[in-house]
Amino acid sequence: MVNTVFVRTYCAPDYNKKEILRYAGVSGDAPELNALLQECLDEMAGKLVYRACYREFAVTHYDSYLDLGFIKTESVGLKKNLYGCESIILFAATVGMEIDRLIARYATVSPTKSLLFQAIGAERIESLCEAFCREVAEEKAKIGFKTRPRFSAGYGDFPLEVQKEIFAVLDCPRKIGLTLNQSLLMSPSKSVTAIIGVGK
């Protein structure tokens, strides 16, 4: 079997305004922000792309480490998360470059809008990940498997350095235009990589 990286493109998931406001630092009610938030959402309409790429690997459990097929890791947190899993879906998702440009564009003329775009971007990538994970869960359920909550490099004792290997095996720059810089930051910034455990 030739293991290939697959790409999926999604339509824009519905907005969750409450989540956006939460990301912007609003924990209560702030009706005076509604108009400005709507202005931002209108301006952004049609500019984002929702892409994910992924690849499936078999998992082998050893006493002190896990073999994920593309790396071996001693992460206790991940071991716990993947307990009982036979395979993993390794994925990367991004909403693209435009949101970074909007955040930067308003940094000078309207920091409030810049902050709101930042929050919108956070909510968008989160919604994209949810959509992807939901779809994977449904597909796996059909063949009798369950999925675990997604787990990213940098969570607990699963080192961020793993990003390098993740980018290599998913071919992220080519598949979805996602790159990793030397500080292990991703560009476009509103992006996520993670592992979804798959087991009975």
Binding site: T4, A24, F70, R101, A104, T112, L115, S183
Partner: protein, 809 residues
């Protein structure tokens, strides 16, 4: 035979996928396929040979990712040498009678260029240059740049090829299902950029199957004057019965590609998932195709990193506001290195409807080369309009053209030999649309015929430099009618003559026509309309000018360029009413004003930008500027600041107030010249090296400025040395550092270390998502501030201490 000669009368077939075939041979996930040139030469040679046997004229070496970011210099040389040797061996062994060539394959670096990534443009050029030099050294027949999904990186690679070898260069980009590159460029933008720089063939590869790429290929066929490449995927991978297969099979693939070869594609092959069988089928399916003639499209255009702007269809508006001539505040901003000022001018002109932005930052006492480069880079980071680079400094022009992410407009050349010798070579190398002024050593001819004669001479010279007529746009120079009543008439005649006699486009700096007259806007608008009637293609103008915009929109509607008058109607409806409109209260309800000391305080506290500016303007008639700051702005900010600290006001609301306060400050600033507006100490702020997140830093900066601190913002990804240098230069008592990632905290620590050594007087306050008190202590900061307000409180504390200790500060 050179491939470019063969291409003149023939269709060229390329090879197909390499990576997918190597995986079948056991290439592991994440393993670098380029190493297989050394470890499995027989596998690589067999794949190349199979393609030659299938009928390919060209195979691409297995060097997609062969660059210095992935390999040492030594290994890179070994790989490139072996890769070319493998392809040559396959070529020698293969039986086909077709002509055969070996292309050095160049793929993307996998890193994002600045400002959104961390790879500098020049570093990208060097990375590509190194591989290309090796390719030329070991005997590649051509350079094949492919699968590029960013326009800027494509430019870096093409520039490297042009500067480091004499081989033909083919360039192919990867477009998504939305018809754009991952970073936004559409096909017309890529055609403009790549043709301008002299690519020998351009086109598309990867991403999708042949049918899904039809739209993109059609755009290439429409705009390009060079041969077009098509190298699609075998559709998309699918899992069928546990096996991964691509969903477009050879016959269907071949039909799709052959259809586009019949429609004009001249260079065809395959990408991911294709095999020698796909190539053989494609050659068979297109055997009856007659090589399409490569037509010169005669399209005059410029481009940005997202789109092109074509001249001659609808009038093109070139915003003139980024130019210090006659603008006091702009000059001050340039001297103070206030890039934000330039960015704001750019954004506002775009919002007003400009299609292109002129960029002129020339002032006698600034380093124009450095400033222009910075302005271009910053502008193109956030504004997707094509830029017109406006300078008489040839060195500044070259630096700006080099960094520009697209095909720029070059302002300007004129009929003087010296000017043409300086500008034309740059236009040839970097591409560009040259604005040519119809003047020469003897000045500006009075009569239109004289200007036409100069235009002819300029065209003749341009041709010598290999620059085509379509890449010259003439400015026949608008002169003021207050000095010569026939000036406008002659200029308009020149527009007509140049269009009809030479078939060239024209652009005018319209507002010169009214110099010295009252109500200039009215004269400008009418002159613009008349000139458009004579065939003017573009104007350098002020997009804030209502009369100009009226002329533009009405002309388009009258000339049948505006379907159903849609744009005109939208414009007309957006015109301000003569009756004063109610207060722009889009933010919601206002509480009773009794809570606040004044209307202005209320406007600031509620974040009403326009109102705050208007009220300040009004108040300045009766109140001293500093009193407004002390008694109005600061108290209002304090109310909001305290609310934020008590969690009754949230961050976005704090920012809205800060923006309103800033707009009030700007009104005050424009009324005060020389007077010192603040008694606060200097504050240097930066996001540390390696970190490109700056929203937190920007918020802190804004709030600090509100409280009167003169903030010097060094930006993001700032080297420790740069922070030290600026701190010493200003003898700044406070430095603020921001970091978002754990991986960049060491850079923060290093910055603090260097500051302690070289600027021991300064206090260092740190902040950012990953920081806390413990971290801050560990890296030796004086203060950890959890948010902007805490930073302000700390800065005020330091400022008070300074004033107590030393009145000279």
């Amino acid at each position: 035979m050179k491939i470019t000669d063969y291409l003149k009368n023939n269709i060229i077939y390329l090879d197909g996928g390499m990576g997918t075939l190597l995986q079948e041979q056991g290439l592991r996930p994440g393993e670098l396929p380029e190493r297989w040139n050394l470890t499995h030469p027989e596998v690589i040679q067999r794949i190349h040979r199979d393609y030659f046997e299938a009928g390919s004229h060209v195979v691409n070496t297995n060097t997609f990712g062969a660059n210095r970011l992935k390999f040492s210099a030594e290994e890179l040389e070994d790989i490139v040498k072996a890769a070319i040797a493998n392809a040559r061996a396959a070529l020698a062994e293969s039986h086909g009678k077709q002509l055969k060539w070996v292309a050095l394959d160049i793929g993307p670096t996998g890193r994002m260029l600045k400002p959104y990534g961390d790879l500098d443009f020049e570093d990208a050029v060097s990375v590509f240059a190194e591989t290309i030099k090796l390719g030329a050294k070991y005997g590649a027949d051509l350079i094949f740049i492919e699968t590029m999904n960013d326009s800027y990186e494509t430019k870096a690679a093409l520039l490297a090829a042009k500067e480091n070898c004499d081989l033909p260069v083919f360039v192919s980009n990867a477009f998504g299902e939305d018809g754009k590159l991952m970073t936004g460029a559409d096909p017309s933008a890529m055609v403009a950029l790549l043709e301008g720089m002299g690519a020998d063939a351009i086109g598309v590869n990867c991403s999708l199957g042949p049918k899904a790429l039809v739209g993109v290929v059609e755009e290439y066929l429409k705009y390009a004057s060079v041969p077009i490449i098509l190298k699609p995927n075998a559709g998309l991978p699918k899992v069928i019965n546990g096996k991964t297969v691509y969903d477009v099979l050879p016959e269907e693939f071949a039909m799709g590609v052959a259809d586009l070869v019949h429609r004009g594609v001249r260079i065809a092959g395959g990408c991911c998932g294709t095999t020698p069988a796909y190539i053989a089928a494609t050659i068979k399916a297109s055997a009856d195709a007659v090589p399409a003639k490569i037509e010169k499209k005669n399209i005059t255009c410029v481009s940005s990193y997202t789109h092109s702007v074509v001249f001659g269809e609808s009038p093109v508006l070139i915003g003139e506001r980024i130019n210090p001539t006659g603008k006091k505040l702009f000059k001050e901003a340039l001297k103070a290195h206030d890039i934000d000022y330039i960015l704001k001018e750019g954004i506002t002109q775009q919002e007003k409807g400009a299609h292109i932005l002129d960029v002129n930052v020339g002032l006698p006492d600034i380093d124009e080369v450095k400033m222009l480069k910075e302005a271009i880079c910053e502008l193109q980071g956030i504004i997707n309009l094509p830029l017109q680079i406006d300078t008489s400094n040839a060195m500044a022009m070259e630096v700006a053209l080099r960094r520009y992410n697209g095909k720029a407009m070059i302002n300007s050349v004129n009929g003087k030999q010296e000017s043409m010798d300086a500008v034309f070579p740059l236009a040839k190398k970097y591409g560009g649309l040259v604005v040519a002024l119809t003047l020469d050593e003897n000045g500006i001819p009075d009569k239109a015929e004289g200007r036409l004669a100069i235009a002819r001479r300029i065209l003749a010279q341009a041709e010598k430099y290999g620059i085509e007529k379509k890449d010259i746009i003439f400015d026949p120079l608008a002169m003021t009618i207050s000095a010569d009543g026939h000036a406008a008439k002659e200029t308009m005649r020149a527009v007509g003559l140049i269009k009809n006699e030479l078939g060239c486009h024209t652009s005018l700096g319209v507002s010169n026509v009214s110099f010295g007259l009252p109500g200039r806007d009215m004269v400008n608008g009418t002159f613009f309309a008349l000139a458009l009637g004579q065939g003017l293609s573009a104007a350098i103008m002020n997009p804030y000018s209502q009369e100009m915009m009226k002329a533009y929109h009405t002309y388009r509607a009258l000339a049948g360029l505006d379907d159903n008058c849609t744009d005109y109607i939208a414009f007309a409806e957006s015109m301000p009413q003569t009756v004063a409109s109610p207060t722009p209260e889009k933010i919601g309800t206002t509480p009773s004003k009794d809570e606040f000391g004044s209307e202005l305080q209320k406007a600031i506290a509620k974040g009403l930008k326009e109102q705050a500016a208007e009220l300040t303007e009004k108040m300045l008639g009766t109140t001293a500027p500093l009193a407004i700051v002390q008694d109005e702005i600061i108290p209002a900010l304090n109310v909001v600041g305290v609310g934020f600290e008590n969690k009754t006001v949230y961050l976005p609301q704090l920012l809205m107030s800060a923006e309103a306060a800033k707009s009030a400050f700007e009104v005050i600033k424009s009324k005060m010249s020389g007077e010192k507006a603040t008694d606060k100490c200097a504050f240097v702020i930066a996001t540390v090296k390696g970190d490109i997140h700056d929203i937190g830093k920007n918020i802190v900066k804004l709030i600090l400025e509100n409280y009167g601190f003169p903030v010097t913002d060094l930006g993001r990804d700032v080297a420790p040395e740069a922070v030290v240098e600026e701190t010493i230069r200003l003898h700044a008592p406070i430095v603020g550092l921001s970091a978002l990632m754990t991986t960049t905290v060491p850079a923060m620590e290093e910055t603090i270390k260097q500051l302690r050594q070289n600027a021991p007087w300064c206090k260092i306050v740190v902040g950012g998502a990953v920081l806390n008190q413990e971290y801050a202590d560990a890296i030796g900061a004086d203060k950890y501030a959890k948010d902007a307000m805490e930073t302000v409180r700390y800065a005020e504390e330091i400022n008070r201490g300074l004033k107590g200790a030393n009145n000279d500060f």
